[in-house]
Symmetry: D2
């Protein structure tokens, strides 16, 4: 499998949501020949305007491309797109590669890998760390696992879309690494919300807390970015709360599988569920702020 | 109250433990005339060798100094040093200032403030964010509250010992801000420990997790610093676990006072208690790693 | 469907574990003609000695019986026995009924119901409340849902094996009711273990606690029964810990589906996972005592 | 110290709230000569009408009585009544006994014991298990500790007011036993609320759940009594929520002292705090139902 160079390689992209749109746009901008597909084709309009070709099915994309990437919303979508009628596997063959950058559980990745490999293709799972902003700026991190040759071939693409890519081993390792990172992130966000709310109740300025944290050992981009909008009670969706809760659920299931206690993740998950009950599923996951704040 | 300039101002320092030693050493290095006191005088030997004077009681220090700082281990020590026999209050008078940089609850700070002010002196609470390393490097953050004039006068000292100082308002605000920050930090550490243990159980490289996190939205100095030693099961004490647990307890009490739910902090606190039961009181608070890992 | 009377009705029983053995024995003792099947046929020896016939497959049982009951360990076993090769559905027909008294999730019950009904048979889910002791004494409680006519026909059987049976509505309601009850039970057991351990640490007699509780508002059979053996650190399996943890997991999944926060159940689940990690999967669920007690 | 017999012994009672009123009324009904005191004297009107004498201070009560009981709301009240001006200790002397049936922490009981004994009197802590109903019906349980002779002397009084009394050892043991029982009770109530809410969300009848539980291993008087009113969202105060939360807090502090992890109690405590934030402090503690149910 040759390395993907702009011009020389035809790239497919399945799933044009917030993330997929930003990632595919960066590939096009870098000169790649990109063919896109989305369940609702109208979401592809901006990319078409930027030069992308539109295909009618995942199979069509795979047929015409060397490497096909996919950024889909959940395991069900990944399985349907990969293995359903007119799906990826139906057009896969030796020499072609499928790079699924969606966040799914290891079992789903393994199932898709088996289907793709069964049809002769190469498979790489490469879930991303990072949300809308990093996707737009080409600053994602790819947690890759699967066929090493495909990882090497796809590396130029990953470099266009991200700032780093890891090769973690067998299929499933990428999914699991992503879950672990997102689990920590999810607990941290709840803990930050607890701190901001406690500050308010104790008569402190929440903005002072944001500044103090910026200078210390727990300073991180997420706190600096989200703090000001959380104080204002604004949660424009970069990473939807329902997806964060899904990841908490999957991480807890991974812990259950290995009998690893995760009491903080479990407590955090309950608050994300609580936020879902209050209607924040599609808000940014920082909206867990309001679940922590609720006094009704 | 004139601003504290090296040479022109006599500085006292009460409490020469890990933190106090590093802070006082920086003041001496910067040219200040420093008089120190510690319950066990032998802890002061290094500072004496560096030029510090040794006094026999807190009152002696206050008598001979313009501004006296204190870094003590807990509320009981703060009350005893400030208000006990030969304590700070007994020698305090107008024109002198007392800057308590210990981490205590707001009620303790208020009690000490009343005693110092009752004797005519000025009071500033200024608990620090940062542990041994930042103390040695003069990179602490001071969360000050109390007499504004003393804050202005002491600012040159705070600049020598730290990289930033906040003035947060009435006495108690510094203590409470510190608690809020340490509460978030304590929960984050448990969450990180959960992630590292889950990674291991799921067959991932823990070192990969540390590297992946470094590049993303939750990258923070604490994770980068502590991760490698946590993986090795080494917990040299920078911030002793029993102090972290004390701060969790005080933060939870603050939440209780204001009826603010803090489910993650509460869950994290139970793990620090668990770690205490396993004998990690004097280890670094990152030793909560082993409480999360325990399968016995 | 006629009502099941001893002598007149042929009864099948699938799954001869701790519970199934006790239940089938009671049916035989009451004069019913019982045919049994178990994956490992040797578990059926005692029942055969008591008069049961042995069949080679679930289908054989269903073919020769009017009403077939099943007590299986988990959803996978239920699906395999009902829908696998030589399974229940393959021999089901109009006039026959299948009463699944296993504890499974609603989706599994619905899937089995569809297969049984698709083959013309009637379906009742009837998970039991109660473990080994009540099973032996015919004191179980059946939480039934599904075909009302089959519930009426099977009532005499349920009366032999239990002390009460509820008809709760559509298929799935029995499973869900069971999960809710077991979730509360699981949390209560952890809370009891917390109390017993706290009593010990605080220098109280644990046996006094058991006696005090017996006289008050929270007196319940489970506490009275399990307290003395928990104090001795003995956990002979009446309800295996791994099954309690499975029920916690399923109840939490039900809560997740409906965005119902369940913070205590979530915290309790982590302790059951912790107990699994310590090797207590096959001990009684009261062995969570040791997970709470652990100071290593 | 002679045994307290109706007619022969003069009994004092301090603190005439919901509980104290019911307990003193039972003593009067049984023929005892009872002198009462309450901070707000008007609360004593019903008891006066039933034959009680009214005194102006705790000291007056102790002066004129052989054994004085007290049922006060919290540690502060206990300390003030025992050791304040015109308090119990000021009139205590050899031959007199003080039986404090309030629920307080062990340290408070020890402090009061020292004051009473220092004045020559005997001291018994005897916190009760049971709320309004059991108090009225003389069905309380007394968790006594302290002077054994006073326990023997007061036993006839305890028998009038309760159905059982335990002698648990040194002062503090009663307080700690009470806390442990109330901690379990508090967690159980939250768990029951979780179950009732999950039942509702999953489409089950909450009343069916109450009935199912009544027949099984976790059947207890509290569930049977509170279930129906919780379903209706009615929480007439038998045991005020703020007192339950106080007991959770004290039990957690006891666990902290002994490094005993109590993750369920900690999670439950957060929900009681949450309920306080929603205005349920003075409602029955079963109002935690609404905190669990909240979806706003």
């Amino acid at each position: 499998m040759p390395t993907a160079a702009p011009g020389a390689t035809k790239i497919g992209f399945l799933g044009i949501g917030i993330m997929g749109n930003a990632m595919a746009a960066n590939l096009i901008k870098d000169g790649y020949d990109v063919t896109v597909w989305n369940r609702s084709a109208d979401k592809c309009a901006a990319l078409q305007a930027a030069g992308a070709k539109l295909a009618g099915t995942p199979a069509e994309v795979v047929s015409s491309c060397d490497i096909t990437l996919a950024m889909l919303s959940d395991p069900e979508a990944c399985l349907a797109v990969a293995m359903g009628p007119d799906g990826v596997a139906s057009a896969m063959k030796a020499g072609k590669g499928y790079v699924d950058v969606s966040t799914v559980d290891a079992a789903t990745a393994q199932e898709v890998a088996a289907a793709v490999r069964g049809a002769g293709g190469a498979y790489l799972e490469a879930p991303v760390s990072g949300s809308k902003g990093p996707a737009e700026q080409g600053q994602l991190i790819f947690l890759s696992a699967g066929d090493r040759q495909l990882f090497d071939a796809a590396s130029p693409l990953l470099e266009v879309m991200g700032k780093a890519s890891f090769y973690l081993g067998e299929v499933g390792a990428g999914a699991n690494m992503k879950l672990v990172v997102n689990m920590i992130m999810g607990s941290m966000m709840v803990s930050y919300a607890e701190g901001l709310n406690l500050a308010k109740q104790a008569g402190l300025q929440q903005a002072d807390l944001v500044e103090v944290i910026k200078l210390g050992a727990i300073a991180c981009p997420m706190f600096a970015l989200k703090g000001p909008s959380m104080i204002e009670g604004k949660y424009p969706p970069a990473f939807p709360l329902k997806h964060q809760q899904k990841d908490m659920r999957l991480a807890l299931a991974l812990g259950d599988e290995h009998a690893q206690q995760l009491p903080l993740a479990a407590a955090a998950n309950e608050l994300y569920k609580r936020a879902r009950a209050a209607g924040y599923s599609d808000a940014d996951f920082s909206a867990v702020m309001d679940a922590v704040a609720s006094r009704k």
